[in-house]
Amino acid sequence: VTKSPYAELLAVLSRHRGVVGSFVVSERDGISIDSNVQIGVHADAVAALAASLHRKARLACGAAGCGQVTFLRLDAERGGICAAGRDDLVLVTISEARANIGLLRVEMMRAAKALT
């Protein structure tokens, strides 16, 4: 079995406190390229929705002249989704409320720069 080039990166993100899954997904078609998720997480559906949200945010930011989207965070009552993109690839993490979002944000923005 050959590991994808993102396996190590996703494993590192998934070791963060409160992170229950991480993906690399194509923004264009919402297909998950690689993932590291806990059992029970609807990986494909969430990856597609996260990619769609990222695309909407990118288009809205383009319309508003805000420049490129560097980080996106969707908060909910018991957790949330973070996304950081580069070109067509989006790095996505799913986290519970106990996650350290500040730390995760820094790690994801650094990792997104290396996405190719």
Partner: protein
Amino acid sequence: MADEIRRLSDDLARDPSSLVFMPLADALRRAGQLDLALRVALRGLDRHPYVADAHDILARIHADRGDLERAGDEWEMALRLDPSHEQASLGLGFVDFRRGNLELAERRLAAAGDGDPGVATALAHVRSALAARGVGGAVPQSTFAVPEVIAEPAPVAMPNGDHAASLAPDVPSAATVTSSPVTEYPTPDPSRARQLFAPVLDGADQTAVLVDADGLVVAGRYIDVNGTDVSDVVAAELAGVSSEAERAMRHLGLGAWTSLLVEADQSVVAMTPAPLGSLVVVATSRQTPVGLVRLLLDRALTRARDWLARVS
């Protein structure tokens, strides 16, 4: 108290659309957990923007936090929804008193009637302060505080007709009499809707807009970094964000979505669901700390919610 909070939290978790958020928010307020109480009350008001008692509880939370301006706004909203709401009259009398508007406080409390013992007590305090000012020129301090005014716990009417969880009489301690301008919400005048968020934004690099579920601008404006109004384009691009966020959270079982924050090269854009399926969007320059953007978003949401309750 902890048991009561736990029980009410469980009740709310079982039925998030119920009115249990009111006694829960008030119990949290009385326990001193003001940030949590504020969040519970605001979330509840998103679902029930027309319940006068809920605005009264939010006003008390603001008062406990020392934010008399917002407390006054909420009590005014409670009175608009229910002109006979004595606790709101009492609260506004308290705000007037703290601002040094003794005559206005006296008129307001007198108009509320003296059927409520709390109102009668407060009225006596205000008249005493007025008399003292007439004699000595100085307003006595610490004579009128909400704790003395809300003498009787006000029961919260629950949907099933029961009276659950009482509202405690403790609010802020009386302190110095201050005078500050009262925030005026724009009247439901379409020509003023564009200025809805002006009072809650702190600088020229901040902008806010209220967008409906179809991607149409309801109020406010979105000015880009070049000073151009791009409200309509941004609103259209954001159409459907709410539904997609909801779907994502449903798949994950993480509860209702509360905010979406987007960092871009030149701006930080934050949005949150508002009543009637609308969306409040706040944008700031990249120099604004992300944490501050979230506070601005909360302020804009409060304003949008109050305004929508008036115009809808």
